[in-house]
Amino acid sequence: MRVASLLVLLVGCATNPAPSGTLRTAEAMQTTAYGGYILVRLRGGGEVRGELLAADDHGVTVNTPRGPHTIPEPKIDSARLAAYQTGEVGLTAWGALGTATTLSHGFLLVFSAPIWIFTTGFTGASESRLALYDFPGRSLRELALWARYPQGMPVVAPPPPPVMPKAGP
């Protein structure tokens, strides 16, 4: 059981950089025109976070409270993009209750409870990573898929400092 707990902890849910309420549901992604939430860690310290406006091989542009901030690729140590809401919280609750129901399995609980715990751990971890994209694991160009401007920053007229609103209906 110690090994099981350790494995679950090791595999555990990935850290999502987005503040609560920022990300949209999968269904809402069909009709929203905002980018995902990105946390960029800079070489030499410091970080930039906010809505991903645009990305290409040369760098990323992030919508910060002080306005768009472009970071060249050489200055980026790592980045994590959260594209949309995933369901690991619901899955974890599902797993917790499922594990509790193994009390009805009598001594077979010895088998069924660990199966529930393992499955919930792995599934929750897998689900939490479903909409996360990491640089340098992926290229900056791939992150553009979830940017507000996948075509690149507008060249005709820069937008006013846009603030990504909280996810709504």
């Binding site: 992604m29 369901g87 899955l91 599902w94 499922g98 399995h105 919930t120 898929l145």
Partner: protein, 504 residues
Amino acid sequence: MRAAIAVVLLVVLALACTKQVKRVVAPSAAGVDRESAFIKAHMRDGGVYILGHWRVDPSGLYLVGDGTQLDASRVEVKRGWFTVPVADVALFESNVVQNSNSIIGMTLVTGASAALTVICLTHTKSCFGSCPTFYAPDGDRLVLQAEGFSDSVAPSLERRDIDALFRTRPRGRDLELRLTNEALETHVIKEANLLAVPAPPGGRVLATEQGTFWQARALAPPRACAAPEGDCLAAVRAVDGSERFSLADEHDLAARETIELAFPPRPGPLGIALGARQTLLSTYVLYQGLAFMGRSAGTWLAALETGGRQALAGRRSVVQALGGIEVLAKNATGDWIVVGEVNETGPLAEDVHLVPLPPGARAERIRLRMARGHWRLDLVALAGLGARVEPVRLTPQVRQARLSREFAPERTPATGFPMVTLPGDAYLLGYQLPQHPEGYELFLESRGYYLEWMRREWLADEDPLRAAQLVVDPAAALRRLAPDFKRHEAGMEEAFWRSRYAGR
């Protein structure tokens, strides 16, 4: 039930939440996913059209759809039908929402778990122990070795039960047994003594059903074992957990089968050692009987208490109809005769019993006769018998108690006997063995009775006439029950085997 409803609601909620988005962007509308309900047309100035009911007109020059136009700051510019020149669009984007693959594992586990819950709730003894269960050391760890007075389902059926702790070889004078209540039952345990019986050098001590103890020289396995399904020798050679069992008859739960055994010639006096436990057949009959009694089960049991011999005889007739393991040998005239029977109730712990052969009976050929699908045979051996011996009775001390907080949480642990236990309770009992304990064979002597708890789901089967039939005409009742038992038999056995309850 509440937990089940909560799980269903959570599953529905989780299914709603566990979606993933397949997003595609392409410089032409032909490159995106046509199944996408909406299309986004990203313009070079940062603006975007989000259109439903979209299509590219036959000329391929215009994207047509119903939706919204937003500027680069995502301020709505216009709403309605749009005809957007394809040449002005920088990128097209489609989004298809799919169920997340991650729920597949959860769904499979939920299905299997729910099925197990149903099996366990409808066939409780498949998953929960029954009767007081006793765990004793086998040298390395505590393993289930005895279940006390399984036959005593009412106060009037209270009886003394002796179980061989066949796998326990004491190493020191201090011995601990773990007593548990793992069923939805109330156990009233009046005694849980240890019987230490002096064993012959290199031999064992075996107990008869009548509670007498006989020293036995080396146990000889059979030379051959023939069951209806074929050779069964490997399964019955030793107490090793490899058991011979069969499935019940589909028309009559009391239908018999015969096993033919051959032993090497050996001088008497002799006896047959049988290591066996029941399948879940008798458990099923007991539970089905209680289900037939339904809401009037209390009245039936009260009749058992006040009805005297007649009521007891009625109850015992069911047990007799299913029967024990009969041992048959040839007499001096060559006729097969029943020389003894083993009928220890209980599907969990194996018990080893001795059936002494009468003087003159030939042991080279032995037959066992039993109801099909009723017994699991682990050991059949020929024993050369020595002297009858008397046991030393050892009473326990309660060393530790753990009471379940689920039922009557205000209870305090028992410190002696009689003790009453509820589901989830566990006691550690300590015994002081005689000097040179390695020279003793150990048996558990338990006395008491238990009360099954009625299950709500059983009430659906309430049928007083069928309950009466079990008592008045058990043979007919067992025939009538056969098809229903056969429907559940495989699942019950599978759950039982997966459990490896006895910790072999």
